[in-house]
Symmetry: C2
């Protein structure tokens, strides 16, 4: 297996109040991106980071696309030798090496294996501000990254029109639409997505409690 790590790092730091891209905001002493790079290091032969225009100078950085999935496609195109792709958002710096390993080992012969946590809130479907129905929570999973794929399956899934790429909220949904089978790998809810300054404080509290 030739494993490539792919880190979409195109998020703006606007909601964080950061002056540059979110991935470069400092979290517990280092750029947020570094935490993900460290979790993936050793498990991937290469790691390709999709960064905003102007940040693509170092090797193994490619320019991000107009949507998240287009960034992933650009990064994957830079690793034609890869047989397995580990996609992980730079905005989830609390990922652990152990979680990446579990996704890799659960992939087996399937097309995908993705980190997900059981939904704990009641979720309802709404329309025009009113409840249509309450969903069966026991069947729902809140999806995270890492998302691990057979690289061929991900390449095929990403060969779709820009509209569908832009609408996809994760890469697994594209692999599912292309007929792939995706396994759910139970992950801790603390593998949170950092969006707001409060999230930064929460993330620092979690990182602090790990030491």
């Amino acid at each position: 297996l030739s494993v490539v790590g792919i880190i979409p790092a195109g998020g703006s730091g606007e909601r964080l109040g950061a002056s540059g891209p979110k991935a470069f905001a400092v979290l517990a002493g280092k750029p947020m991106l570094e935490w993900s790079l460290e979790a993936l290091a050793g498990l991937c032969e290469r790691i390709v980071v999709a960064v905003p225009a102007g940040f693509e100078d170092p090797p193994d950085r490619v320019r991000g696309g107009p949507s998240r999935s287009e960034s992933v496609r650009n990064a994957l195109a830079a690793a034609p030798e890869a047989t397995v792709a580990v996609v992980h958002d730079a905005a989830r710096p609390l990922v652990t090496r152990e979680l990446v390993e579990r996704c890799l080992s659960e992939l087996g012969e399937l097309e995908g294996a993705i980190a997900a946590a059981p939904v704990t809130d009641t979720v309802k479907e709404g329309e025009d501000g009113r409840v249509l129905r309450t969903l069966d929570r026991s069947r729902l999973w809140s999806v995270q990254t890492p998302q691990v794929f057979r690289a061929d399956a991900l390449r095929r899934a990403l060969e779709t029109d820009p509209g569908r790429l832009a609408a996809a909220t994760d890469d697994a949904s594209l692999v599912e639409s292309a007929g792939g089978t995706v396994r759910l790998v139970e992950a801790p809810p603390e593998n949170l997505k950092v969006t707001t300054p409060l999230d930064m404080r929460i993330a620092e509290a979690i990182l602090g409690s790990r030491c």
Copy 2:
């Protein structure tokens, strides 16, 4: 209108590491329950708290039932004069008076109006550890409390068998099943549910930033 506040406070403090019920764990200087009582005070003529056995001595405390909805039923039975019920979990101490007011004003002539936040994660339906489908996130709401109801509609909805009461993850779903129309009132995601010690730290950080 005669408005009764109903606070199910039956949660154990086990996952918090607290020695007593969760509602009495100290959060930012006072018992968690107090934060909710303060948000509801002035908007409700009475507030009935459903507490674990052994804690029901003071007036307007009733014994909680074996399930959350049975606790709500016990509390509502103690307020036969009520025409509107504001149900709010003691485990959501970050609720604001403003959010309760908005739910009350959005109730209008409907059976219910409930606090909810748009879902921000990708949510998938799973079966046997595999993805069945990715849901359309734009239609999904993560439901919180307060949940405000026409008291008659809630009384009727709670007249169902214990199995359905135990399976209900919120009270609105029972009102929906009984044919009621429930409005979604957009609430801040920071109205979080406190379950773990980390949640306590987050809640204290949020309360600290409000002052």
